[in-house]
Every structure is written in C-alpha cells, then in structure tokens.
Amino acid sequence: MYIYNENDQKIIEQRVAQFRGQTDRYLAGQLAEEEFLPLRLQNGLYVQRLAPMLRIAVPYGLLNTKQVRKLAHIAHTYDKGYCHITTRQNIQFNWPQLEEVPDILAELAEVQMHAVQTSGNCIRNTTTDQFAGVAQDELEDPRPWCEMIRQWSTFHPEFAFLPRKFKIAVSGTEGDRAAIQVHDIGIQIVKNDKNEIGFKILVGGGLGRTPVIGSVIREFLPQEDLLSYLDAILRVYNRHGNRTNKYKARIKILVRAWTPEVFAEEVESEWEYTKKIPCDLTREEIDRVKGFFTQPDYEAIDDNDAEQQLKILADDNIAFGKWLQRNIHAHKIPGYAAVTLSLKPTGVAPGDITDVQLEAVADLADKYSLGEIRTTHSQNLVLADVKKSDLFELWQKAKSGGFATPNIGTLTDMICCPGGDFCSLANAKSIPVAEALQRKFDDMDYVYDLGDLSLNISGCMNACGHHHVGNIGILGVDKKGDEFYQVQLGGNSDTDTTLGNVLGPSFGRDDMPEVVENILNVYVENRVNGESFTEAYRRIGIAPFKERVYSNKTGSKPTDPKESTDA
C-alpha cells in the first residue's frame, strides 16, 4: 500500500495543527458557528442527534494492521468501544467529544491517517473495488490511480468550496464493483484499439434525491492527462453548478440541464487550457505510485491440491462449506482467495465493529493476509490475500470473533445507513428495520435458496444506504412526524446499473418484514431456471409484486410516497 513520504506526512500534520487552531478559535468564541461548520465538515466532523460524529478517511478502502489497531485504540479511548464502516468505505465514530477531535486527528496522523474532506462541499474520498489488485477480471489495479487522485484532490485550492459534495470512484474491471455509474465522476480503466491503457470518463451519476446514472463524456482519456482533465471537469462544475438551491447543486443536475454532450464540449474546451499547465502526471510519478502496489511475493501453490483439501474439510463441516460458498472471492493467484468478513450478524447494526473485533481482525490480517485489510462499500471487511490452506483456521478464528456469518451477497448482508438512531438528516430509523428483517429471515437455507440478493436501506432520500440500487430498496420517509417506509424494486449496482421502481404507498415499520416476505414469495413462485431476483423482476415486471403486497395489506395507513419524500 502507499506509504507516506516526508511531504505527505508534513501535510497531514499541518492539517492537524490547522484544525486544532480552528477548534480553539471556535471554543473561544472567535470563530462563528456558521463558519466553523464547513471547516469542521471538511474534517469529517458532524454534530449529530446525540453527539458529534467523526468520519475518518480510508482512502480507497485500504488499511494496514497498524492503522486498524489505532482505530481500535481510538474506539476505546475516545468513543464507546465501536465504530461503523460506511457505504463509501470510510469509518465513523459516533461518540467523540468535539474538544478531543484534534487529539484524535493527531493520533491518526501517527499512522498516516486523517479525516480530510470526508464531508463538506469538496472532493471526497476516492473509492474503488474492494478486490482491487487481486481480482481475476481486472484490466489494471485501480488503487495507484486512486492514490494519485487522492493527492491531487487533497486541499485543492480551487475546489474546496464547490456547490455541493463531489465523489469520484475508479474501477479496473468491466463488471463494476465500485458503483462508478452513480458517482459524480466515474472512472473506468479501459484499453483502446492500440492496446494502450487509459480511462473512460463518466459524469453526473448519483443517488440522493434525484438518482441518475452517469453519462460517458469521454471514451478514452490517455493516462498522463488524468489530472488536467479532472481539473477541467471540476472547474466547469465549480463555475456553473447551481449555488442557490442545494437540492439542485450536484453536478448531475448541471449535466442534465446542459445535456451530457454540451457538458462534454465545455470540459473539452476548458481542458485545452488546463492541459497546458504543468499539472499532469509524468511517467516517473505513475511508476513511483504504482511501485507501492506491486504484486507481493505469493507462494507457488498447486490450486488443485488446495481445492481438494478444502472440499474434504467442507464435506466434513457444513458450516465451513457454506462460508466458503458465500464469503470467499476468487483470487488471481492460484492457491489464494479473498475473504469477506461479515459485519452483518443478526442483532448488530450493519457495518458496526467493536474495538475488540478490530484487534482480532488486525491479528488475522497479520497472520493470514499480508497485514492488510480492506473496507467495502457494502460495509464489510475483506482480507484479500489468504492462502486457501489457511482458510479453515481463519474461519474458526473469524467465527469466534463474530464475523464469519456466511451471508455475503445474500438478503441478510444488508446495506444500511445509521439512520434516525444517529443521523440528524434521517427521516426514519433504518437499523431497527434491518434487525427486524434479519430476525424474520433467520433460516439460512431459505436465504441461500434466494441466492444473490441485495436489500438496501436508507433513512432518508440522501440515500447513504444506496436504496435506489438495491434489488429491494427501502427508504425511510417522514409523514407528519411519523416514520414510514417506501419500497423500491428492481434496482441493481452491477455493470448494468439500474435504479429501482417505487412499489407504491409506504408502510409502517412493523409491516416491513411481512412486506418483504410477500415480495420474496412472488419472486420464488415466479422464478424459472434459477433466475436471479433481478432477472425474474425484469421478466415479470412490478405488477405481480404490487398486487400481492397490497392485497395482503396489514391494515397500515398507506401514504402517498411522493408527498412524503418532499415533506
């Protein structure tokens, strides 16, 4: 992974000093609330319902064990002993004291971590595929590019006060695991007809109040031109994005208003100028950064032997077999596998992890996975470089640590925002809905029979829980002070990213397990030849779901979802 040099370290330390000064001025009454607000947001500090929330950056989801142990230390020293993995691969602490945040940042700086630009109207953490670098279907490792973007975007003097937040994702594969189509900028690594590696550039995707799939504005951008082209996009947006209405301020609204073609032309003409500035990457710099992501010294392992051993163990131990089926991802090197540690056991808020578990994960990573851990946008952790011969031992330890629930990619591996329990933007709670669903669908054989299925829950239309791209999406809405839940069906976040359709009037919280049960029954009764939920939904449409759910209605008072979301 990338290791800071003297300059990187100095920048982060000076940030700590700067933020300490800002906090001191605020506490001394010398910095107004409304001025401190965007400054603290650009350092990841929110003031929530119950306490401040500090969001720490995990650049492109990559952590080493020293960093994970530091997070454990922060969790038990400054917080209530746990933290939360977000849908943008970052980490949130829910209970820090505002006065102590500069100390937390100083502790983070010791392990090359920070909270820079994790919130606010600026360029946020760049995210990518959690299997970057080990995936079999990868054209090139996206992480060096994410790091180059991280450096370019860190304290960019021109783009720290954008019309709205700005999120970039990079994918190195054809099949998209980084949700690049629903980011402000999506970057896909591609090869042109001359066999050169470059980037396809999408803009204007996003979820939130107005979900939009991004538009391609450039089919092929040469590697060296990446930063001047990003400068051009950001400058067009900074100058022309809507600044009067925050609900119309994301780049997607500008792209839609202008049309992607016109937006692309504006960017191209701006790029004529920005590429004359010596801002672009050099071959040496690309090679330098790539040098931090070279292939480790993998052992030469006979994959057939390894597989045979696993099969014997799995035959003896059904639970291990299930875990192998669900929580293991193929690795490009024979004899190795990537392991997903599930943070979705029943009864724990999805994505939450305790200090003790963090320590345990660090131990596992040191022992079995080259000392690195990844966070995923589906709020789990990944050990990316595990020898297949170690899987059984790892599974036993992961089980005692509480993160071996064999449910990755299934119904109970829900994506869920913190919702009304913590977040002051939320219209409704989301964690209790997730828990009720996990309790209702606790029969793992039933869950496995459903196959790959995503259920995503957001507590408000800001869509941190990515409900628009869940096969089943649940959105919390507020109706005159009461919490209701709108259901969407047919979304998906794979290569053919699709936004879900609203099923109909919303439901009370207690009705949700039954509503989801009805939806699943319609799928199970209608699927043919092992169709996935998405395939069946695309064939039969929304009508049969609607009919079942509303004819079986349980006496809740339906509300008009449109009216609710605008309330």
Partner: protein, 160 residues
C-alpha cells in the same frame, strides 16, 4: 481607514468600491468599478485611478485580456461558501496573464487565505470584524501542496 491584508501585512486601504447600480459622477478617489459598469462605459471612462471588481456570478471571460489595463482587480465572495471566486482568480492570473494586484473582497474568511493565496490573490479585504493580525498566520497553514495552482504551477511530482 479600512484595513486589509496585503502581501502578508495589515495595511490601510484607500480603494473605494463602487456599487453595481451606481449612477452619477465617480468620486475623486481610487475606485474599484463593477465589471459591467466598465464594460458599458469603457469608451468614455478615464481609467487613470480605476481598478475593477468582479462578482462571483459574472463571467470573467468578458474582461479577458483587458485585465491588464487595471493595477488591481478584486473578486467578490458574496458568501465565503461561494467558491467561484477561486476559479475566477486563477483564470485572471493564468489564462489572461493579469499581472496586477488580485484582491478578495466580500465575505472571505481567515481559513481560506491559504487557498486564496494559491489561486493568485495577494490582498484580502476579509469579512468585517476579522482580527487581521491573527488572520495573517493562516496564509501559511501549509508549507507543501500537491497540485498545481498559480503560486506553484508545477505539481509536486514535477519538482525536485
């Protein structure tokens, strides 16, 4: 007399900002003319004692290479959250080769000084009530920057 920060020092300021809707005879002083006022009347104006100010929503392209007719151009930040002025500053300096004094006016705050400096601003008429002496230190919040900007056109990896 109003105070501003210029080149890292707190100094008295003698420029008078002329409102956008100004009509009548200009005062006998160093005046900062609104951009549109200048564009409308440029053939009849005596620019001996004139600078210009540009609002954040205005298109700096309208001034373009005329920028160098002025010793000072100010860019207005109606709210400190309105970041368009950062782009306007860079365009004036980098695209139109403006060599004069570039000033931030309006409601820019101390914590933006470092970014403003990087975008080519050298003088700062900060939000009313700012402790200017204390604010000066924010010009140097960081010693190192990664990316190109006016003050350091070469990205960090192109130096050394």
């Amino acid at each position: 007399m109003p105070k501003i920060i210029k080149d890292g020092q707190v100094i008295d300021d003698t420029w008078v900002i002329i409102d956008k809707d100004f009509e009548g005879v200009l005062p006998m002083a160093k005046v900062l003319l609104p951009m549109q006022y200048y564009l409308d009347k440029r053939d009849s104006l005596n620019l001996m004692c004139a600078g210009l100010w540009i609002d954040s929503e205005e298109e700096v392209e309208a001034i373009g290479l005329d920028a160098n007719m002025f010793p000072l151009i100010a860019v207005n930040f109606p709210s400190f959250m309105d970041g368009r002025g950062f782009s306007i500053g860079r365009l004036l300096k980098e695209r139109y080769g403006f060599t004069g004094q570039l000033r931030a006016i309006g409601n820019a705050i101390q914590d933006q000084l470092f970014y403003l400096k990087r975008c080519g601003f050298t003088s700062f008429d900060l939000k009313d009530g700012t402790d200017l002496e204390a604010a000066c230190q924010s010009l140097n919040d960081f010693d190192v920057s990664y990316q190109s900007a006016y003050d350091q056109p070469e990205a960090i990896f192109r130096r050394n």
